[in-house]
């Protein structure tokens, strides 16, 4: 683990935040806190961080490979100087109160000195039994790291499975194995706590009707992920466990252990299983196309997330994933073929069917296990009836104990983007009352002044690790040094044992200084893991960090070619020569920084915008709220009650009052944005404000867009033409203001998905099913005799909303399913409605008479507003005109333009509670940027030679991020603060006017020279 001279006196301060759980949520929270310059300790009970996500093959809805998405993210957590990581650690006790907690931590023995371990894997080669167990199908990969990008990059030994530790010690060339290691108990002061411990996955082996855990070809969703995963037990080949043959026919069964009333079941919905089953089926289809048949058995297809309905449609229409609406009764295994027979009943047919499959995947969901309840009692926080953390009605990250916050699945079942949102929200809440650490202290202060090497003759220092036997056991390092010395500009070349050990690093430092070295080559392991370590070494000796080249002698040579030492020796020489020839061309590069504006601009004065603004203002940030309406409040003013029964009006009124009274908030109503310029940290936005539309310009460092969405009002089923047809929002008002009218009603019909999930608006509006439940339950409360019919396509009461669905059914609310081609017909006679719809269960058309028709119309994007803002702020939108975040999985509130964040229904339809969470997350993310006080423009960016530029527009068109433009002087300008460093423009430029720093053409060509001209 890297620590830059971290001061030990901070360890005892109660200004720290303790983050418990190192899954993606915990990592995000810890990184956010560290980036906003709060001292953080991240603990995880496992031996490396990463959690559940690192076990997935691919993630929806992008179907991307996870490892490449997560790994930069994880190594980032190793780089933050405000962040400490303690793996194999759990919390025992939390005493005191918010701002002054004392946490008792218990660290299990690893029996390995992480500082010495090089991650060579030699111990595991010889002692595979010491491998730690990984949930699901044990990959038993040749390393006992969970995945190759594991952080920390080190092993752990399971002492219970070791007979003689001295035997293992013998194979460890790094001398990293400890025969004695003890459980350590430490007590630390912390100011606040973030919980992100996740949940367990349901173990379906208790279900006898689904094989009782005895059938090899019945796997859980996670096990299927491991089978498909490139780092999994079958190296990514899809095979049946029973016979290692590729299956031809796979079935997924949804809601296994969820949404049920049986003993083993939980009543709630796990929220993610529909999507992961679709993903697994699609990825399977992508790989095998016609060779494989995929079938999903489901109850309701719950694709309520952003753009998820389109994903579902793609699965059905493009990938031909077969969808069967049924909860299968049982699975029977054929004892000889190990094939599986599924017995199921179709809604529209009375008979049961049986069908054979090669493999069955059980979509199991989240469970709060015993660990969760134990943790809650140790921390003294309340749990809800499902044993998940109980949180505030309007703040989903606030637990019952002040100062303790929660994110991710420990709060409720949810997917990764929602976890990320909550993580950033929890980080913000946890940091609220904690001071920023040493804000004025620059990292540069730790390092001596950089030596100017420009114009100096190249003096090379080449240091080659033997990495124990990992390099030295395959190639002759001494001969490599002899070879290296044939380069006349090598001032010093030396074998350095374990180059990454503290001892060797010190030796390298003194050799560099002694010989006046100005370019360094390290022959060792992969630059992916060790480049930054050696870059920091250079900084310590006053050299620019870009003057080092890491030659991958281990991972890409001695490990791969250890059976052919002669070839490995020859290749090692060539690789070293590539590095030597390349590093000669390396130039010192500056990472430019600019001071940034500390103001924030929040566009939109609804609940979301107000929440974000308040949190930023509380941190002392001058915040502007721009609202086009005459008053604050937004769409929430047209909602009276939440499904939990909370008074929305009172909540909004409290928010408005706080915002208006806050000294750091400038509210500007009747205001619109008219122009925008600048760059992240230094934005300038022009607005027109007030009745006279006066122009004013605002300087700000960050922007939060929260202009919301619009209540949809499609002209269907008589809405707007027939008297008495209302939307759920209007019914919500009637339920508060006109209870007598409601009480007098005999029958009420609700129609779901009105104007959603159709061709012109294909996505799900997410909020309507819970709105229908909320209003149906209130009708029943006012008059239990009133009959309520809900005509639906799929009921999408995800997570704990399922409780309200169940309650509605228990109270006699009737649910009648319709499909897109059997939409209900509505007529009105003498003020009464007649709704005709085909009932699949009865197999005939039914007619329902109703006093009131309530339509669940949901939300649509505010096309006009998002289009204007998208143009002015250069931001992408989705096909549905919502804003498109930078990374739908991992960065759900960040936009592609740094410093711009989105929250609330401008992102996608969501409930008030969800919008508030996102508002907190956006404020949190904005705060991390502002905390830096200055913008680091990086160094690996492109540079344009304006004299060569032919202003041909190729770079403008080729850039994947739309950064280049032809400036007023007629040449291409590529802002270094926006450049992502891919180099596509540099390679496409027909005038060769663009160079990507650190990968310039002469550097690449020099490497080729090294390979061919020197060695051959």
């Amino acid at each position: 683990m890297q620590k830059l001279n971290k001061k030990d006196d901070k360890q005892s301060g109660s200004e720290r935040v303790l983050v418990i759980g190192g899954g993606v949520g915990g990592i995000r929270a810890a990184l956010d806190l560290a980036e906003s310059r709060r001292d953080v300790l991240l603990i995880d009970k496992s031996y490396s961080i990463g959690g559940l996500m690192t076990q997935l093959d691919r993630t929806f809805p992008t179907n991307n490979c996870d490892l490449c998405t997560v790994s930069p993210f994880l190594s980032a957590s190793g780089r933050e100087r405000y962040l400490d990581i303690k793996p194999m650690t759990r919390i025992e006790e939390l005493t005191g109160q918010a701002g002054n907690f004392t946490a008792t931590l218990v660290t299990e023995p690893r029996y390995i000195d992480i500082d010495k371990c090089t991650g060579c894997g030699e111990c595991v080669q010889k002692f595979p039994e010491a491998v730690r167990f990984t949930p699901g199908l044990d990959p038993r990969a040749p390393t006992c790291m969970r995945y190759p990008q594991a952080t920390p990059y080190a092993f752990s030994i399971d002492m219970a499975k070791v007979e003689d530790i001295s035997q293992i010690q013998k194979v460890c060339k790094a001398d990293a194995i400890l025969s004695h290691d003890e459980v350590q108990k430490t007590r630390i002061k912390v100011g606040s706590v973030v919980l992100s411990v996740g949940a367990e996955l349901f173990d379906p082996s208790v279900l006898d009707n689904y094989g009782g855990g005895q059938c090899q070809n019945i796997v859980t969703g996670l096990e299927y992920e491991r089978i498909m995963s490139a780092s999994g037990p079958f190296q990514g080949s899809l095979v049946r466990v029973s016979d290692n043959k590729q299956p031809k026919k796979i079935a997924w069964i949804q809601c296994v252990g969820s949404r049920g009333i049986n003993e083993a079941d939980v009543p709630y919905c796990s929220g993610v299983c529909c999507m992961y089953a679709l993903k697994e089926a699609m990825v399977t289809k992508e790989r095998f196309e016609e060779d494989i048949e995929t079938t999903i058995f489901y109850m309701d297809m719950r694709t309520h997330g952003k753009d998820y309905e389109r994903y579902f449609n793609r699965a059905k229409d493009e990938y031909k994933v077969r969808m069967i609406r049924s909860r299968p009764h049982s699975i029977i295994e054929n004892s000889s073929t190990k094939d599986l027979s599924i017995t199921y009943a179709l809604e529209e047919e009375a008979v049961q069917k049986t069908e054979d499959f090669d493999m069955v995947v059980l979509s199991t969901g989240f469970r709060a296990g015993k660990d969760a309840t134990d943790l809650a009692s140790k921390l003294g926080i309340d749990l809800n009836e499902h044993n998940f953390a109980k949180t505030d009605h309007f703040n989903s990250v606030k637990t019952s104990r002040p100062g303790v916050y929660v994110c991710g699945v420990y709060e409720s079942p949810k997917d990764i983007p929602e976890t990320m949102v909550q993580a950033s929200a929890a980080a913000l809440m946890a940091s609220a009352n904690l001071p920023v650490i040493c804000a004025d202290e620059k990292i540069e202060d730790f390092f001596p002044r950089e030596r100017d090497v420009t114009g100096q003759e190249v003096k090379l220092g080449v240091f080659v690790c033997d990495c124990g036997i990992d390099i030295g056991g395959v190639v002759d390092v001494g001969k490599l040094i002899d070879y290296v010395k044939t380069n006349s500009d090598v001032a010093v070349a030396k074998a350095v044992g374990h180059g990454c050990s503290a001892e060797s690093m010190a030796q390298i430092e003194s050799l560099i200084l002694e010989h006046g070295v100005n370019r360094v080559v390290i022959g060792g392991c992969s630059p992916r893991t060790h480049e930054s370590k050696f870059q920091d070494l250079l900084r310590r000796v006053g050299l620019n960090r870009y003057l080092v080249e890491i030659v991958n002698l281990r991972d890409q040579n001695t490990w791969a070619h250890r059976g052919q030492p002669r070839q490995a020796q020859e290749k090692a020489c060539k690789l070293l020569q590539i590095g030597i020839s390349g590093v000669r061309k390396n130039r010192p590069l500056m990472e430019n920084t600019l001071p940034m504006s500390q103001n924030a601009l929040v566009i939109g004065g609804g609940v979301t915008g107000m929440t974000s603004a308040l949190k930023l203002a509380d941190q002392g940030i001058l915040t502007y709220i721009i609202e086009r309406a005459p008053a604050l409040g937004g769409l929430a003013r047209s909602i009276r009650k939440t499904i939990e029964g909370e008074d929305v009006g009172a909540f909004v009124a409290r928010l408005v009052e706080k915002v208006m009274a806050h000294e750091n908030i400038h509210v500007m109503t009747r205001s619109i944005v008219v122009d925008h310029s600048g760059m992240p940290g230094l934005f300038k936005t022009g607005i027109q404000t007030g009745l006279r539309m006066n122009y004013m310009s605002i300087d700000h460092g960050v922007t939060i867009l929260a202009t919301g969405a619009l209540a949809n009002r499609p002209g269907e089923y008589g809405l707007g033409t027939l008297d008495g047809v209302v939307t759920q929002l209007e019914l919500d008002f009637m339920l508060e203001d006109d209870t007598e009218k409601i009480a007098a009603m005999d029958q009420v019909v609700m129609i779901q998905c009105v104007g959603s999930r159709e061709e012109n608006n294909p996505n799900c509006s997410r909020i309507c099913c819970q709105a229908a439940m909320k209003n149906a339950l209130r009708i029943k409360q006012i008059n239990p005799e009133t009959q309520v019919f809900v005509l639906y396509r799929d009921i999408r009461t995800y997570g704990f909303q399922e409780d309200y669905y169940r309650e509605a059914r228990n109270l006699g609310v009737k649910f009648v399913r319709y499909s897109l081609n059997t939409k209900p017909l509505v007529t009105q006679e003498d003020g009464r409605f007649y709704v005709r719809v085909y009932d699949f269960i009865l197999g005939q058309k039914i007619e329902i008479e109703a006093d009131c028709l309530a339509l669940s119309t949901g939300l649509v994007a505010d096309d006009e507003t998002t289009e204007d803002l998208a143009m002015m702020f250069h931001l992408p939108r989705t096909l549905d005109h919502y804003f498109l975040e930078e990374h739908v999985k991992l960065r759900p509130v960040d936009m592609a333009v740094r410093g711009v964040f989105i929250a609330g229904t401008i992102h996608s339809p969501k409930t008030i509670r969800e919008s508030v969470t996102q508002a907190l997350a956006a404020a949190g993310r904005a705060q991390t940027l502002l905390a830096k006080k200055e913008i680091n423009l990086g160094a690996a960016v492109v540079r344009v030679d304006k004299d060569k530029c032919a202003s041909c527009l190729v770079c403008v068109r080729a850039c994947p991020f739309d950064i280049p433009f032809i400036n007023a002087d007629g040449y291409s300008q590529i802002d270094p603060d926006k450049c992502q460093g891919c180099g596509v423009c540099a390679a496409d430029c027909p005038a060769k006017a663009i160079q990507l720093l650190t990968y310039e053409d002469d550097q690449i060509l020099a490497k080729l020279d090294g390979l061919f001209e020197r060695v051959n």
Binding site: L67, C68, G236, V984, A986, A987, L996, I1004, K1007
Partner: protein, 145 residues
């Protein structure tokens, strides 16, 4: 030229192919030592000239290895790379060279096996094509002089 050992340059993107190569190593999966990797941030950085220069300097084969199609860390870099490889193949054809000496390969970071397998297959292919025609030129000249 029996049993000659070709020199092969692989331009590998940092996020996928380079990581896959590391992974092949960490799993101790063997592949021909002929392959020498040059790391680039994205295959979108690999210019047609880099490939040509590698051949000119003596490489017997050159391949560009990037993320899976659609998975590029930089959105479209690997798609650009594929087109540039095709351009170089066209030039080679025009010169009467085997266009198979250059190739585009895709893999994800987790695919250590695929890295090794493609390295092996590409090396075999280049072995079957024989050495870079430049070296044949050199030999002919030696024979004449």
């Amino acid at each position: 030229m029996e049993n000659y050992e070709p020199e092969i340059v692989a331009f590998c993107c940092h996020y996928c192919a380079y990581t896959a190569a590391d992974m092949a190593g960490s799993k101790r999966i063997s592949y021909p030592a002929n392959v020498k990797i040059i790391r680039v941030p994205c295959t979108g950085k690999v210019d047609a000239i880099h490939i040509m220069k590698a051949l000119e300097k003596g490489a017997d084969g050159v391949y560009v290895a990037g993320c899976l199609e659609g998975d590029c860390h930089f959105k479209t870099g690997n798609a650009r790379a594929r087109l540039r490889v095709a351009r170089v193949q066209k030039i080679l054809e025009d010169l009467g060279w085997e266009k198979e000496r250059v190739a585009m390969i895709n893999m994800s970071a987790g695919m250590g096996e695929r890295f090794a397998k493609t390295a092996f297959e590409f090396t075999e292919k280049i072995k079957s094509l024989g050495p870079n025609p430049i070296s044949q030129g050199k030999i002919e000249v030696q024979a004449v002089s």
